[in-house]
Amino acid sequence: MKPLVVVGASLAGMSAVQSMRSGGYAGPVVVLDSSPEMPHDRPPLSKQVLAGEWDLDRAGLPMARNMSELDVDLRLGVSAVGLDPDSLQLSLSDGSTISAAGIVIATGSVPRQIPGEVPSGVFVLRTGADSLALRDELDRGPERVLVIGAGFIGAEVAATCRGRGLEVTMVEATEVPLQRVLPADLGSFVADLHRNNGVDVRLGVGLDSFLADASGAVRGVTLTDGCEIAAQVVLIGIGAVPEVSWLEDSGLALLPPQEGGGIRCDESLRAAPKVLAAGDCASWPNGSFNGERMRVEQWESALEQGTHAGKQMLFEIGAGEDPGAFSTVPWFWSDQYDAKIQMAGRADPGDEVHVVDGSVAEGRFVALFKRGDECRAALGVNRPRLAIRARMKLAETLAWDSMLELFDQ
């Protein structure tokens, strides 16, 4: 019997496996992952694990806790290097091939790197091993940590380092943190949050070059404005790119970066018959947002898409009901210092912003993003209950008036 093959053992892939099993599929399942160890749950890697509060073991993926029940042929350290959607053949990095009954692609994304050679002491943060390597350096008590990029990874690492009592400089190339997502006054809130917690925040400047000592260890950087900053540890947090390069010759449709990147899927996350994608690498028309094509790099979306892909796969092979189209309201949160930042939906810099609860000045607010007569997104800072209720409302309707009613009570 040909197996169902899941490429990627992180949240999306393992959610797909769990969903196939809970859907009653008892046949063979192969799970591949390029990582030699079982991938971890990522949110704690920039927070509790990096802070030294948790052992890495505690940051296991939820569904990996009952791995034996899932009964999978888990092949760690083996990646897929090619896929033929017609024959459902996968070529693997160990030279072998698998003939599959169906394939779920959940290869996620990889951190965007600085081009060229970098000195030692320069880190990215994606995996459990990355988190431990960075933590070891922090344990040595560097005089200053430099964070390049004020996105969520960079901002959380900066906050964790401050929590450890370390001096931190955070450099962001745009004038306002999260400029692609947030309007200027809200983005300034993020910069102020870090400044108020003792971070040296530099906006509108980029990395020019690294400074290294004779042994090749980083000693700081030169910025594009000519400033030199001495630092013994550097974290690069400049985003991620979907890991789909292995599919370039597959014949599957891959989207260019200007169209959001990733694998072009239909509304059911199908890239081809019996070939599905889930998580960071999947782009699909989202029914919750008028069928707009989206690719979402968020925890909850990875879990939901993986779960859907598992059900969809059973339907594709005639072993389950049609789960229908996949739609979701993107949702993430980030904990930085005493601020719980939560966002539902998809904001665009062109949206009108309405603060409908609290105020930016007091650091507790809900902001809604309006385009035409629709509410496109809701951002909550230290307003968790309202933020999640706004998310539930967006799942129901994007109508602006309906959202406002939630805040008129």
Binding site: D41, E300, K340, P384
Partner: protein
């Protein structure tokens, strides 16, 4: 059926509130609050199962 919720394990994913708002609320810090004391009403048992199955931190347990 009884439902138990462990605040120490909760990481504030709020999936329980999303799936079973009759059983869970969210407090000011973003953590779940259990709305029923002990016994789950018969008509909410399915939702209780859903909440427990979907808690990524295994903070919700059901006792028959």
């Amino acid at each position: 059926m009884k439902i138990k919720y462990d605040r120490d394990l909760c990481q504030g994913h709020n999936r329980c509130y999303l799936l079973a708002p009759e059983l869970f609320d969210v407090d000011d810090d973003g953590y779940a609050v259990l709305l029923v004391d002990g016994e789950v009403p018969a008509d909410l048992q399915e939702k209780a199962n859903l909440a427990a199955d979907n808690c990524p931190e295994y903070a919700i347990t059901l006792v028959e």
